[in-house]
Every structure is written in C-alpha cells, then in structure tokens.
C-alpha cells in the first residue's frame, strides 16, 4: 500500500500556531490565577510543554498545569484487540472550582475528550472545562464535542492519519503530517 505523507504544518507554522494558541489563552484567562492547563496523555502533554514554554516568557506568574491519563475511563475497554497501556497522571492541584483547559494534539472522534471529562472529576469539580487542540479533524466526530481553541483544521478520511512530531521527543523537527493511503 502506498502511503502519501503530506506536510500540514512546517516547523515554522507549528511555532506560529502554538504562539497564536498561547495568546488566545492569555486573552481568555488573563493572569491564569484560577486556571489549570491539563495535557491529555500521552500526546497532549507534548503540546502542553510547548505552550508552557511560550507562556513562561509572556506571563510572570507561574501557571498551574498537569497531565491526565484517561485509559481507565475509556469507553472501549475490552473492545480493543490490544489493550492500551496507561501513562502517568500528575495533577498536584485540586481542580474544585478551577477553570480547566484540556490540551491535546489531535481532536478526532471526541471519545478521548469525553473520557477526560469523566476522569477529571476525580480531582474535584471544575468551574469550567475548555478544550485546546493543535489539529482539529473536522467531520470525523462521533460525539458532540468541539474545541474552544484550535490550531488548524483538517478534513480527512477515517483511514487517514495525522502525525504530530516533536523535536524534543526525538523527531527530526516539530511538524505535522497527514498520512493518506490508497484505501485498504
């Protein structure tokens, strides 16, 4: 099967997009006093790291953040051929009454976000929950979930893959690709 790998965001565009998303966060959250940024494991935490780096240079105050693993809250337990391996959850603040922003790399079916909304309740009841994604794969949602902040949207088929690569995780450079195949 031939795979076509198309560049969606070049390293420069990844940087510009992340900066825009960071500015939008500042616009809505001001000094981040009651805000907690939560990266959805495993891949959302890379986006979170990048955003925190940008925000650190913009904002003087320390921004509360954490990572949330949703494996145990997924709705496809016992329905997958190979079970998923859980990643680390690290949330050191109580989320009761806080404004939570979920951060993920790609929004696809919306099921992870649903699970995250369930999982986050274990740390208290947030005042509100928002969703930030780097890539929004429109028209492939299986649940009524939309992002509040979106880096770039992509129209793709179910069988396609969006690959988000990070230099700090071992890739050649920060970039986003769309991988399409001849339909299998």
């Amino acid at each position: 099967m031939a795979l076509n790998k198309k560049l969606l965001l070049s390293p420069r565009n990844v940087d510009i997009t992340l900066r825009r998303l960071a500015m939008q966060l500042i616009e809505n959250h001001g000094d981040f006093k009651d805000t907690v940024l939560i990266g959805l494991q495993p891949r959302g935490s890379a986006v979170l790291e990048k955003l925190l780096e940008i925000l650190k240079n913009q904002e003087s105050a320390k921004i509360a953040s954490g990572t949330l693993d949703i494996t145990f809250f997924r709705d496809d337990f016992r329905r997958r051929n190979t079970p998923l391996q859980p990643s680390k959850t690290k949330i050191d603040v109580l989320l009761e009454g806080k404004k939570v922003v979920f951060i993920d790399d790609v929004l696809f079916t919306g099921r992870s976000v649903r699970s995250a909304m369930d999982a986050v309740q274990s740390f208290g009841r947030p005042a509100e929950v928002e969703l930030l994604v780097l890539i929004d794969r429109r028209f492939s949602r299986e649940l009524p979930i939309q992002p509040d902040y979106s880096g770039q949207h992509v129209d793709s088929l179910i069988g396609d893959k969006v690959l988000v690569e990070w230099q700090h995780l071992g890739a050649l450079e920060d970039a986003v690709y769309l991988e399409t195949g001849d339909n299998e």
């Binding site: 145990f72 809250f73 190979t82 859980p86 680390k88 309740q121 740390f123």
Partner: protein, 313 residues
C-alpha cells in the same frame, strides 16, 4: 507488550517476566489513582467479581475487595464458614452455582494446594488465586516484589532473604519464583525444621544463621510465625525463636549497611520483629499494604481486559 500471557492468575509459576513487568507498570498508574481525592475508575463497571474465601483472611480479602470496588466492579463475598460448603457441596458445584448468577471473575482462597488450578480447568470463568494452601499466593509475591522495586529501583541482582517458616508458607514459594524471574537472588533462612528438605532445587541458598543472612542481603522479608501450628513443635519455644530469628533495633544497627525490612502481616510484634523495627524507616510494611491494592487492581484490570464482550447473550 500490553497484554498478559495468561487468562488466569493461578500462580507466579505461570507468569513470564514481561507479565510481571506489565503488572508493575499498570500498578504504578493505579497507585496514583488510589491517591486521588476520588479513588475510583469506571473500567470494570460492567463486571461482577466473587470473592470466595474458604479459609480465613482479613487483609487479603479487604485488599481485593477495595481493588474491585475502586475499579467499579460489583462484588459478592462468600466465606466458607457461613456457606453450604459445610453441608457437603463440592467446590465445582459451589462455584458453578455462583457463576450461574452471572459472575464474571472469581477470586479464591482455599486451604488445598492446587485448588485454583483445579477450578480453572473445570469452570468457565477468570480465576485469581488469593492463596491455595502452602502452594502459592501470587498477588502477595507481586506486591512484595513491587515494593522492593519501588525502594531499590530494580530487582536485578538484588539479594533478598526470606526468613521464618518456609515450610508452610505459600508467600515464600511465590516470592522465590517472582523474585527469581525478576533477576534477584534469594536466600531462605529459618530453623532447620522449617526449611523444606530440597529447597535448593528451586535455585535458592539456605541458612540457619540469621546474622550472616542479614549481612548478606539487601532486603529481609520476615514471615509470620504461625502460632496456630506452634503445638507441632517445629521449634522449642516462641521465646527461643525470637532470640534466634527475630530482628530488633540492635541487630539492625549492628549490620554494616541499611537493609529493608518487610513483613506480609499480620505481625507478631516482639516475635519476628520488634516494635521499633516494625515502625522504623527501614520497614516498608505499610507500603506493602498500600501497594497491595494497586497490584490487585492491576491484576484484575489486566485479566478483565482479556474478557470479551458478548452482546448476544
């Protein structure tokens, strides 16, 4: 590897190293879960687990029950004293009756060695062995090894001593198998009457000298003196046992390095270990208890993930 190689947890004997590593990794995540303000995940909300205890147990049953409840499973408890076992029902009949009420998994403790294996061959359910006679107690061994790994970083080439009644102990056998699979060296130590004759065939060394053993090891797992078997006279008196095989603060301090002290519980304070040792910072006894819930959650979760959903039924 994200799947166990076995359908049941009957004993450490049936696990391979990667299974144990997977259980540890999963338990790590569950340990974080049970330290959240809300300590519950919904993974097993559509499953029912029966805890069948044909032999007395407090902490193992409590630990299993908590693990099941924190995974949102429905739980039914059964203990032999209050059941129709005393009316002469066979094990297979008892279990099949319970399974007929649509129970998905069975956690069983039984006084007969091999009971869990027997059940796995004769009934259609996922079986978790919570101790079968003097044979195996796999979840205890897993939580012991997990607790050691947590302290020492790894089990590879670590020296672990198991001290006490090795002869009657299922904890000892499971521990030996588990630690060896993870690359540790094991030595058993106790009164000669309580060391099984051919224990070396398991690849362990044995000793009747506690001080020498403690000097050798990184970790000492002190097994309980089984008071209930005391009248069999495996050793002259509790007092003599505690003088020869008990650890107090003075013994610990006389050693050339700091070793870790473990105990599967319940402790006979002043017999196997003195109170100041049990409560010292070298003891990881309460870590073991906490890790017990996380390990059991991991085992149940990983076994449940292999149970297919059948909507036709």
């Amino acid at each position: 590897m994200s799947e166990l190689s076995t359908k049941h947890l009957l004993g450490i004997k049936y696990l391979v190293k990667s299974d144990i590593e997977l259980i540890f990794e999963t338990a790590n995540q569950f340990k974080e879960v049970i330290n959240r303000p809300i300590k519950k995940v919904p993974s097993m909300r559509d499953l029912t687990v029966a805890n069948l205890f044909f032999e007395n147990s407090t902490r193992t049953r409590l630990s299993f029950e908590l693990a099941e409840k924190r995974l949102s499973a429905d739980v039914v408890n059964f203990s032999a004293s209050s059941s129709s076992v005393s009316k002469g029902e066979t094990l297979i009949d008892t279990v099949n009756n319970i399974l007929a009420m649509k129970v998905d998994m069975v956690v069983m403790r039984h006084p007969k060695p091999g009971a869990a294996y027997f059940l796995s061959q004769n009934v259609d359910s996922i079986i978790v062995n919570a101790g079968d006679g003097a044979h195996e107690h796999p979840t205890q061994a897993l939580l012991d090894a997990f607790s050691i790994k947590e302290r020492l970083g790894s089990l590879e080439a670590k020296k672990i001593a198991i001290v006490g009644d090795i002869l009657h102990s299922r904890v000892a056998l499971s521990n030996i198998l588990c630690l060896q699979k993870m690359g540790a060296e094991v030595r058993v130590c106790g009164p000669a009457t309580l060391l099984p004759k051919h224990i070396e065939s398991l690849g362990v060394t044995k000793s009747t000298n506690l001080l020498e053993t403690l000097e050798w090891c990184d970790v000492a797992n002190m097994l309980r003196v089984q008071h209930e078997r005391q009248n069999l006279k495996f050793f002259p008196s509790i007092r003599e046992y505690s003088q020869m095989f008990g650890i107090d603060k003075k013994t610990l301090e006389s050693l050339s390095k700091k070793i870790i002290i473990m105990h599967p519980g319940p402790i006979n304070r002043g017999v196997e270990i003195s109170t100041d040792v049990a409560d010292s910072n070298q003891s990881i006894i309460l870590d073991q208890v906490e890790n017990g819930v996380a390990i059991r959650m991991a085992v149940l979760y990983l076994l449940a993930s292999k149970k297919e959903i059948n909507f036709a039924k």
